[in-house]
């Protein structure tokens, strides 16, 4: 029954008599070695980048944004310049054409077999290059795609940011004051929420003529609900905390507390929500274009490009592919970033 045998391991250390002295460690024992100070945002950043999908999304957003800025200027075409003699040319990129892709040749599958068209050689235009091809007015699709991306991005980001301000304020005020104010504001919210988003947007654009500003206005009217919900929820969480009480006893006014104290603490979820509402805005704008309420010609947005491309979808599919891919990538990457942000800000460590 005795367990006095000292266990021997491979690298058994044989204790000497000197080892059995008391350590003079009165100073050391009070040091807490486990406490590691790290700022909250540093933590968040680390967690964000640990997620592969998150920084892929971020990377994509950056690339697309850069291209949206410089893309249209990269070649000699403008987004509205028409060259009717050069309609519906297939994509042709110098260099890549040697590889057999992007070589200006269009392959059409018809009922009688595959036919190849090379409008460039047909018209003896060996020095003309349309990187993404040209549309049925002879406009360069590369330039129009990136111009469209620019417009879509501006609309979406503008709408999202304005939404953030309006929605956040609404939610914060509603949550902070509580009681009757909250109840009334929330009822209004429910009614506003009851009307389907697209119905409002559609109706608005029927009354006001479509244009970039009116679209932003319409988008703004529909997205603020989600933002205000989140702001209110966060406010309700923080309202009862002691730092708020402390400020109040020191005489801080309501708006000081709301905007200077609580706001910085809820920036995280708010930014996440903004990130989520951008793809929704892009989608809504594209939808509007599709039904004919989008950006008026000759300006273009990703949605209007898709709408135009749809008409020649079966004859010249290459025309619709660039804007579709760019838009899908944009929406995907914003979603990924928003997802990553959300997880980074609110980790649920379920590991032990």
């Amino acid at each position: 029954m005795s367990e006095q045998t000292i266990k021997t391991t491979q690298n058994a250390y044989v204790p000497t008599d000197a080892d059995f002295r008391l350590k003079d460690n009165a100073g050391e024992i009070t040091i807490d070695t486990n406490f590691a100070a790290q700022s909250f945002w540093k933590d968040v950043t680390i967690r964000f980048f640990r997620k592969t999908s998150a920084w892929i999304g971020l990377f994509l957003i950056i690339i697309i944004t850069v291209l949206a800025i410089v893309g249209p200027g990269m070649n000699e075409y403008t987004y509205s310049g028409q060259e009717l003699s050069q309609k519906n040319f297939a994509p042709r990129v110098p260099g890549l054409e040697k590889l057999g892709i992007f070589d200006g040749v269009e392959r059409m599958t018809t009922s009688s077999g595959t036919k190849e068209f090379d409008k460039y050689t047909e018209n003896n235009l060996t020095d003309v290059y349309y990187w993404f091809g040209s549309d049925n007015f002879g406009r360069d699709i590369w330039t129009r795609t990136w111009e469209g991306a620019r417009v879509s991005l501006i609309i979406a980001v503008a709408a999202a940011l304005i939404d953030m301000i309006i929605g956040m304020s609404y939610g914060l005020i509603s949550g902070y004051f509580g009681g009757r104010t909250d109840m009334i504001m929330q009822r209004i919210l429910e009614i506003a929420n009851g009307i389907p988003r697209l119905v409002i947007v559609t109706l608005l654009l029927l009354v006001l003529k479509p244009g970039m500003l009116t679209i932003i206005f319409a988008l703004m009217l529909t997205e603020w609900v989600g933002m205000s919900r989140i702001a209110r929820a966060e406010m309700l969480k923080l309202k009862e905390q002691e730092f708020v009480l402390a400020s109040r006893t020191l005489g801080a006014g309501h708006f000081f507390i709301i905007f200077k104290q609580i706001l910085p603490n809820i920036i995280g979820p708010i930014i996440t929500q903004v990130m989520f509402s951008i793809p929704t805005a892009i989608f809504t704008e594209a939808f509007l274009s599709f039904v004919g309420l989008g950006i008026p010609v000759p300006q273009c947005s990703l949605g209007s490009l898709i709408s135009e491309g749809f008409n020649s979808f079966t004859t010249h599919p290459f025309q619709i592919i660039p804007p579709v891919i760019v838009m899908a990538l944009l929406m995907l990457s914003f979603n990924l970033v928003a997802d990553g942000l959300r997880e980074a800000l609110d980790p649920k460590l379920k590991e032990m």
Binding site: M1, S2, E3, Q4, T5, I6, K7, Y13, P15, D17, A18, D19, F20, R21, L22, K23, N25, A26, E28, I29, T30, I31, D32, T33, N34, F35, R50, K350, E351, M352
Partner: protein, 364 residues
């Protein structure tokens, strides 16, 4: 203490590592625990010492990222015909454990009754579920048995309560329901994981009394996991003190309370607030529990140990025997070590405790 010393549970050299995104955490580092029939064994320690993990291993409900590196958990039980069988739970797969052990022979009572009951199922159904699952008890019979159980755990209006949902009961009642669920299939061993921590102090006492009553009436063995020495004092026969994944001292309740040998146990006992203290300060154990991600050589408690020896940084102390039932893993018990006495305040407190006990007529 029971005369028939029949060993029910024997945990041998249990060693468990968790795979986390921050690296491997060596949570259990060689734990040995014995449990005899009819006994109440307490496992005491700070949060993170590994108390729950050890018993979850015995129940086969460890998290999926846990890996048992070595050791065995031998459980002895009897079949319906009376024959006895001993199995090493760690060698069995989850399905077997669920079918033969969980609920049927070993049952667990969890810490927070608010979250351990399914909010969408009536409590009657939750009690009956185990019986129907294990024994295929017909519904009517299960229902009657459930009502009996509710009465046994002290819930009035048992029949009406059967249809209630967890959110309709108070905290204390919920915990009683959890206990009823645990007893539904007549287990031999009840593991209580901090059963009273989430409850009010007054309810705490009632729940502890309830568990004691059940134990007496049913003759089951109980393992209490807790960090509250006050609870231990009331219920335990035998105490295991755990620190950083190891048992650092074990003994009968008298031995641990009146003759503690490990500096950590001294710390725990000193830290108990005591109304009689003349001392101006409240004692706390300095520092904080070690981060098991970074294992160091030697005694895990050394960085916080006022009485650490040089060797504590180099070699982990083995279990030294103090008596037949009392063991402590501290180099202070080695013959070569200097004679170190427990702190004076603690000594005084223990003397006070002994005086009170004598006054109240108990034996030492």
């Amino acid at each position: 203490m029971s005369e028939t010393k029949e060993k029910i549970l024997k945990i041998n050299d249990l060693d468990i590592t968790f795979k986390t995104t921050a690296g491997p955490v060596h949570a259990i580092r060689g734990v040995n625990i014995d449990l005899y029939k009819g006994e109440t064994v307490a496992i005491v320690g700070e949060s993170g010492s590994g108390k729950s993990v050890t018993m979850k291993a015995a129940m086969g409900i460890l998290a999926s990222n846990a890996a048992v590196d070595s050791g065995s958990i031998e459980f002895t039980y009897s079949h319906a015909d009376g024959s006895k069988e001993t199995v090493d739970i760690l060698t069995k797969d989850k399905k077997w454990i669920r079918k033969h052990i969980n609920g049927k022979r070993i049952a667990m009572v969890f810490q927070d009754p608010m979250t351990s009951l399914d909010p969408t199922m009536s409590i009657g159904k939750q009690i009956m579920e185990g019986m129907i699952w294990h024994f295929k008890t017909p519904k009517k019979e299960a229902w009657d048995k459930a009502v009996e159980l509710l009465k046994e755990v002290g819930i009035s209006d048992a029949e009406k309560r059967m249809k209630n949902y967890p959110h309709q009961l108070s905290g204390g009642m919920r915990q009683r329901v959890v206990i009823a669920i645990a007893l539904a299939c007549n287990p031999d061993l009840l593991i209580c994981d901090e059963p009273t921590t989430a409850l009010d102090v007054t309810i705490q006492a009632k729940i502890i009394e309830l568990i004691k009553k059940i134990q007496d009436e049913r003759g089951i063995s109980v393992i209490y996991i807790t960090h509250d020495l006050g609870v231990v004092a009331k219920v335990a026969d035998y105490v295991n003190v755990m620190y950083a994944g190891k048992i650092v001292e074990k003994g009968t309740i008298d031995e641990i309370f009146y003759d503690p040998r490990h500096p950590y146990t001294w710390g725990l006992l000193s830290a108990m607030p005591d109304l009689n203290t003349d001392d101006h300060r409240l004692y706390t154990i300095p520092g904080s529990p070690p981060n098991l991600l970074h294992e160091k050589a030697g005694d895990a408690f050394a960085p916080r140990n006022r009485y650490a020896l040089e060797i504590d940084d180099k070699l982990d102390p083995p279990m030294f025997q103090v008596s037949d039932t009392h063991y402590a893993a501290t180099w202070l018990l080695d013959e070569r070590a200097p004679k170190v006495e427990m702190p004076a305040e603690l000594k005084a407190r223990i003397e006070r405790m002994k005086e009170e006990a004598k006054k109240n007529g108990s034996e030492l």
